[in-house]
């Protein structure tokens, strides 16, 4: 069994996963440190709810632990696989939530730093607030595409793999998502004197 410092130095996710399957307890810590943050951030941006994002992140990692013994090295990139599982779980949850209750906008506030500062900081914060509210109004697939592209800065081929679709379809989703955001965030909504989020919320309701 390899010691923790050796495992942390392993760059290859496949090797770490093999070590985990062989019973190395520190491999789980190394994989968690490497991937949990990104998965949780994606789930939180998708769901806008901390408890649900935690559930999705935990469930995603649990699936990783279970699939570890059968994992075929080199067949898929682990990070891509994790993103795909997390985005599918988040999308399922979104659909379930939308069926049962309206979206909870207040949860999105946790994504935005509300600390007061100079005017430009305030404007930026308002703009981000408006952006997140608008993002939350997009259809699930468009929301996922925008999140992966602009917040996780993924390439379109990676996005296509995660979303189990073609690059052309990803481009279409991004285009429609951006146009929908532009329609919601029309000039005048994010003004220096106005509360952008509140204005947008009033507009979209």
């Amino acid at each position: 069994m390899q010691p923790a410092k050796d495992l942390a130095a392993i760059v290859d996710d496949d090797a770490l996963l093999a070590a985990f399957s062989a019973g190395a307890p520190d491999a789980a810590r190394a994989l968690t440190d490497r991937h949990l943050g990104r998965i949780y951030a994606l789930a939180l941006r998708m769901l806008g709810n901390q408890a649900e994002a935690e559930d999705v992140a935990q469930d995603t990692m649990l699936r990783l632990w279970k699939v570890a013994p059968e994992w075929q090295a080199g067949r898929a990139q682990l990070s891509t696989w994790l993103y795909r599982v997390a985005s599918n779980l988040a999308t399922d949850r979104l659909r379930s939530v939308q069926r049962h209750r309206p979206a909870d906008d207040s949860a999105l506030d946790s994504l935005i730093d509300p600390s007061p500062g100079a005017d430009d900081v305030l404007i930026t914060a308002e703009r981000d607030t408006a952006l997140h509210y608008a993002l939350n109004r997009l259809p699930d697939r468009q929301k996922l595409a925008i999140t992966l592209r602009h917040f996780d800065e993924m390439s379109q081929p990676d996005m296509a793999e995660i979303m189990d679709t073609t690059i052309e379809a990803v481009e279409g989703l991004l285009g429609r998502g951006r146009r929908a955001l532009a329609a919601m965030l029309r000039p005048g909504l994010t003004t220096k004197n106005g509360a952008a989020g509140a204005a947008l919320k009033a507009r979209v309701k």
């Binding site: 019973g23 949990l36 990104r38 992140a57 935990q58 990692m61 632990w65 602009h150 146009r179």
Partner: protein
């Protein structure tokens, strides 16, 4: 700049700070990992916990084998062979003197054993 370009610029300028992972989530994920590892190889873990030292040392094993061979030889050749050993012969003779009739008792025991 078109509206879509403006949105792209806005998206690119948006705060991309990753939210901190709650410590409770990390603990739950690692607990799941431990449980999954245990479920993967329960037999391996039991073996790993067992002591690595052998049950008998080599001297004990040799003594056990020697006494087994001696018992086998004794069984085939009969108890009289014991008189061939000087120390044991004295011991047997001494024991016999304390008994009423050693030979009779030995014969009685042989007869009893023969009856099954």
């Amino acid at each position: 700049m078109s509206q879509e370009n403006e949105i792209m610029a806005q998206l690119d300028a948006a705060d991309k700070t990753r939210p901190p992972v709650p410590p409770g989530l990390v603990a739950r994920v690692l607990a799941d990992a431990t449980a999954a590892q245990l479920a993967m190889r329960p037999a391996g873990n039991v073996i790993a916990m067992a002591p690595s030292r052998p049950v008998l040392g080599w001297m004990a094993s040799a003594a056990l084998a020697a006494s087994a061979l001696f018992g086998l030889a004794l069984g085939y050749s009969g108890p009289d062979v014991l008189t061939g050993f000087s120390g044991i012969a004295d011991l047997v003779a001494g024991s016999s003197s304390t008994l009423s009739s050693g030979n009779d008792e030995l014969g009685a025991m042989s007869a009893f054993l023969a009856e099954g």
